[in-house]
């Protein structure tokens, strides 16, 4: 289908973008890479009055080193992120998970910030951002910049903490130090499909034991979920198949997974347990 009509603005700077968004009002949408939004427009599941296209805001594509953290510009494409030497060195979990997003053509257009602001619980990157304790930087014309912790950013199904007049500028991701292994375990029906369940996992090993673990789940509720019970259980235990399996048993605790034609909520809970054990195992040996 052809999208409904909309006004279109193509700002060149963040300031212009904020001004355009403020002026366009509540029924405007920010267009990042468009790989989620364009299908919604075409299916007329979304029909904003105006699109503010960030495609030409070059400053938002930057990925930079900020001492203890990486700053990933919201408009950095998946293609760019998964190849970026800084990301690969200091946030390899992001590189690994991004490589599983959709397909090469979509990754050429789709952006890191767009995928996060879209807040689709079946998207891969929200759980990754949550597991890595990322901080989101938003800006509006009226109120300037503010920071939002990952734990506060994902509010509900397809709903982020961004206000209608706010633009996501980028995400600050604390660097993982030495000793961390990471893995993103994704279960999907076909190569390019969304995760039925996914597990983002980072494990720090010290002398044969797990010193700390970060685990977050994709598509196990209306938002990505941190598997706190798994993290608490596994910390301090020896690296072994049985301890990872026991930890995985706790993965579905406190979650409310959806049921749909790809799987019932019980099936997703089962997947979360199995995949979490696999993700821990893989991360501990990475």
């Amino acid at each position: 289908m052809i999208p409904a009509t909309f006004d279109y603005a193509r700002p060149g700077t963040v300031e212009e973008a904020c001004a355009a968004l403020a002026e366009a009002g509540e029924d405007a949408k920010v267009l990042a890479g468009g790989q989620s939004l364009m299908p919604l427009l075409r299916l007329r599941l979304a029909y904003p009055d105006a699109l503010i296209d960030l495609d030409r805001v070059a400053a938002l594509r930057e990925i930079r080193d900020e001492d203890g953290a990486l700053f990933i510009g919201a408009m950095a494409t998946h293609h760019q992120v998964m190849r970026d030497p800084l990301v690969r060195a200091h946030a390899p979990l992001i590189a690994k998970a991004t490589a599983t997003v959709a397909d090469p053509a979509v990754r050429h257009r789709g952006t890191f910030g767009g995928a996060l602001a879209h807040a689709d619980p079946a998207g891969d990157l929200p759980a990754v951002a949550l597991a890595l304790d990322a901080t989101f930087l938003a800006v509006s014309a009226e109120r300037g910049e503010r920071e939002i912790a990952a734990a506060d950013f994902f509010v509900d199904w397809m709903t982020s903490a961004l206000e209608p007049d706010e633009i996501l500028v980028g995400v600050r991701v604390p660097k993982l130090g030495a000793g961390w292994g990471v893995h993103y375990e994704k279960f999907h029906r076909t190569a390019q499909a969304w995760a039925i369940v996914g597990v983002a996992c980072a494990v720090r090993r010290e002398r044969g034991a797990v010193e700390a673990a970060r685990v977050a789940l994709t598509n196990m509720g209306p938002t990505p979920v941190r598997a706190a019970e798994v993290e608490d259980f596994i910390a301090g235990r020896t690296v072994s198949e049985s301890s990872f399996r026991e930890a995985g048993e706790r993965a579905a605790a406190g979650t409310s997974p959806p049921g749909d034609l790809h799987g019932s909520s019980e099936y997703r809970a089962h997947l979360a347990r199995v995949l979490t054990a696999r993700a821990l195992t893989a991360a501990a040996s990475a």
């Binding site: 009509t5 468009g34 790989q35 296209d53 293609h79 397909d103 090469p104 053509a105 050429h108 257009r109």
Partner: protein, 164 residues
């Protein structure tokens, strides 16, 4: 209405476009480039894949206005003076098409893949084409064709220009 200036298959076009006009509709309906088909409404099938500034994109998920100032290559821009591109020839010779609907997208996605990886394994070819669906399910011959074309493109015949 925004005005766009786009280079498509080596020719420059200037047009006024509605913001909601999709790139694939611009190519087909305004420029007559019907070599690029429309397969789905959901960015799934990859039939409409073209190159934008050298990178594969699904032209149903890009607005025409976003192509302003960019360079687009469609399947129609591959052959030179009636001589098929090695990928086109390999698809023909390896019987890599049945109904042919997915073929333009497959070829453009394969071209993007070979730009990054001149000698891909079968598995890498399958991964590189994961965004392109063949409903005839003729993937075996598609993989074979891409492998064959890759070989030819690595050692092009002297009398043949190979682009891009």
């Amino acid at each position: 209405m925004p005005r766009v200036r786009v280079e498509v298959d080596g020719a420059t076009y200037e047009d006024d476009v509605e913001p909601r006009l999709l790139l694939v509709h611009y190519l087909r309906d305004r420029l007559g480039k019907v070599g690029t088909p429309i397969g789905c409404d959901t960015t799934n099938c990859g039939a409409c894949t073209v190159l934008m500034d050298g990178l594969s994109v699904k032209s149903c998920s890009v607005l025409a206005v976003q192509a302003d100032g960019r360079e687009i290559t469609t399947v129609e821009g591959l052959g030179i003076d009636g001589v098929l591109h090695p990928l086109q020839r390999a698809f023909h010779e390896e019987h890599a098409l049945q109904c042919g609907f997915c073929t333009p997208g497959m070829i453009m996605a394969a071209l993007d893949l070979l730009r990054e990886n001149a000698d891909p394994s079968d598995e890498e070819i399958r991964e590189g084409l994961e965004g392109n669906l063949c409903r005839c399910t003729g993937y075996q011959n598609i993989v074979r064709a891409v492998r064959r074309a890759a070989g030819e493109m690595r050692t092009p015949a002297r009398d043949r220009e190979v682009t891009p």
